[in-house]
């Protein structure tokens, strides 16, 4: 009887120490789920979701404080991917947060009008605006996420959102017109296990 108790207590002690060490050893910084959610978000950093950037929104979703349908730049695709990740039903975009843009936009400063107030530079979440006080400002197009956060602070309304100028490398072939015709819907296309793809 005593042996059994001792053995149990000993085992409990050993495993307790093991678990304690493992918890220290394999400690993960931050929330891995938030990390995964952040990877899906479009990183526009626009704040339309009501959080100051994509990362805070990802953390809010991970802790259950925000819904998955608050990201207009990501649109349907992002909502679908989030739903897949979290195992919930996809839902339409929350209209309160804004609407999905049809074409990607970038900010362009009308340099003849800019007074060099630096207000847009402070507003830009990704440091995509270059300039100094009383000097002309300009947007680094490649870095601009199209978040529109620079529009409101501009005292002279010299920033416009324009469609991204597509180059040959960015060309996307359209879905053939016949895909919209009377041919039966194929969303129910067979989706066999990945292994069968390599047979």
């Amino acid at each position: 009887m005593l042996t059994a108790i001792l053995v149990s207590a000993g085992l409990a002690l050993v495993f307790g120490i093991l678990l304690g060490v493992a918890a220290q050893w394999f400690h993960v910084d931050g929330n891995p789920l938030a990390e995964k959610i952040d990877a899906i978000l479009p990183q526009t950093q626009c704040g339309q979701c009501g959080f100051p950037g994509c990362r805070p929104y990802a953390e809010a979703i991970a802790s259950g404080q925000a819904d998955i349908n608050q990201c207009p730049p990501g649109g349907e695709t992002t909502i679908k991917n989030l739903a897949d990740l979290l195992g919930v039903e996809p839902k339409p975009l929350n209209a309160e947060n804004g609407s999905e843009k049809e074409v990607p936009l970038v900010a362009v400063i009308d340099e003849a009008v800019c007074i060099g107030c630096t207000k847009c530079i402070q507003a830009c979440p990704v440091d995509a605006i270059l300039g100094a006080a009383k000097q002309m400002h300009t947007v680094i197009t490649d870095e601009c996420t199209g978040c529109e956060l620079c529009l409101a602070p501009c005292p002279v309304d010299c920033i416009d959102m324009v469609p991204v100028h597509g180059s040959v490398d960015d060309y996307r072939f359209p879905l053939p017109a016949s895909a919209q015709s009377a041919v039966p819907d194929v969303t129910a296309a067979p989706r066999p296990a990945p292994e069968s793809a390599h047979v």
């Binding site: 597509g166 040959v168 072939f173 015709s181 296309a189």
Partner: protein, 571 residues
Amino acid sequence: MSEIGPKVTKARYDFHGGIHPPENKQLTRDRPIRDLPLMARYVLPLHMHIGASARPVVKVGERVGKGQVLAQATDFISATIHAPTSGTVVAIDDHLIPHPGGLRAPSILLESDGDDLWADMLEPWPDYQTHSPTALRSRLRESGVVGLGGAVFPTAAKLATGPAQVTTLVLNGAECEPYITCDDRLMRESPADIVAGARIALHMLGATQCLIGIEDNKPESLTAMRTAVAEDPRFAVVSVPTRYPAGGEKQLIRMLTGIEVPRGRRATEYGLLCLNVATVASVYQAVVHGLPVIDRIVTLTGGGVVQPDNFKVRIGTLMNDVLTAAGGYRAGVDRLIMGGPMMGFSLPDDTVPVVKATNCMLALRPEDRPEEPAPQPCIRCSLCAEACPADLLPQQLYWYARSRQFDRAVAYHLFDCIECGVCTAVCPSHIPLVDYYRFAKTEVWAQEREKSKATVARDRFEFRKERLERQKAEREAALNKKRQALEAKAAKAVQTPKPPGDTPAEPQTSTETAAGEAAYGEYRPGHAPIDTRLDSAVEAARARSKARRAALEAQRTEAPIPESDDESEKI
């Protein structure tokens, strides 16, 4: 085939699938290559090869000689662009390019001066054996040599095989696509150039043999090439059965050597390298004669042109100029295709330049091509899978592309599709399968671009956050330090009462304040006067900029008339 000598062998291997579309080569196969007259204007897109765009090295208004470098290769995979004739650079601007989307892209516009005078040329290297492969590769790079079979991959980069040792050079003279005869004519008219270019490539690669694959519907080319290689034991001319797409790189290698290059691997890993016959001819011109690539052979054909023909066309010639020189269109033409009927694409406009990839211009009337009935549902007949030369499952790819399950399409090896068009041609439901694959491929690329852009944005956002926090901390630290210093000073002052001798310090500070007051007017924190002044200044600035913006806006939208009105009013 009894006259085929010992130098011509028949291919011993075969590839899977393929079809026999109507050849239609009789339209131009017996038309010798002709030169076109000098045109008044040439348009040279900066991006007419695989890889990075070339960077212009000439200025608008600059006079250039024929063969002068207009734009320099910018990357390892990039190609230099040369002036097709002497003249003046009139613009460097967006111009329509041959593209299925009818896109505009940065181009150099050159106006011919009619003299057609050469600029300083590169030194001819008839003794190419004395030059190292590296020097020869940079010669090809300077000369703008790219794959002329249609892929336009920079040849200098292709011949840089790294550690892989190439033993066999495969020359692609199959020209399997219907209508096209430019390589056929080149092989018949200048077989010596091709063989000389192949010898240079063998020297550069250190390869020991060269196989020339030609479809057996070109007996004259087979004979011409056999005669040209008769003296050299390293060469063999191989006749391959006429079946589309025998000219695909992997398909031709399979037929000539029996080696099936697996997916994701390169032919060089198996000691093989494949070049088009026209490409090696331009290698010869670039090395031995120092001539850059400023022209190429183009087949102008189809039922929609008055006189189908083969032309030596300078790169940058506008297609409508080529057509005018060739006699123009016939009535009823409704489609101009760049490339052949299988892999080419329709051009929305014919004011686009001939580029290095333009092997054929095909003008068709509705009666010249098979009917195109409306697509019907896929019936899973699997004819496409039987015909696919890349051994793919076209109907699976179709389902996944169409339902936007791109990850699944990639898992079914979407990117091994060579877009040969065989599946579309055999489909009894007339589904434009290749259009779906092109759609899926560009969507996958777009997703990848978005992903990498998101990563950059995330990094920049996080760096900024970190920077703001750091600045805030630094500011607080500085403030704390100041506060502590002040407190310490105050404590010191309380502890040790000032000796009377130190009093002059006080008046000094008071004069400072007085000077400050003079400079800032009546400014005191929270005082009204300065606030109203600031407000009115901001208001004025706003009004000024608004007026300026309105004026600019008016200038942009309307004709310059209102501006001149203003001027007259001022006067």
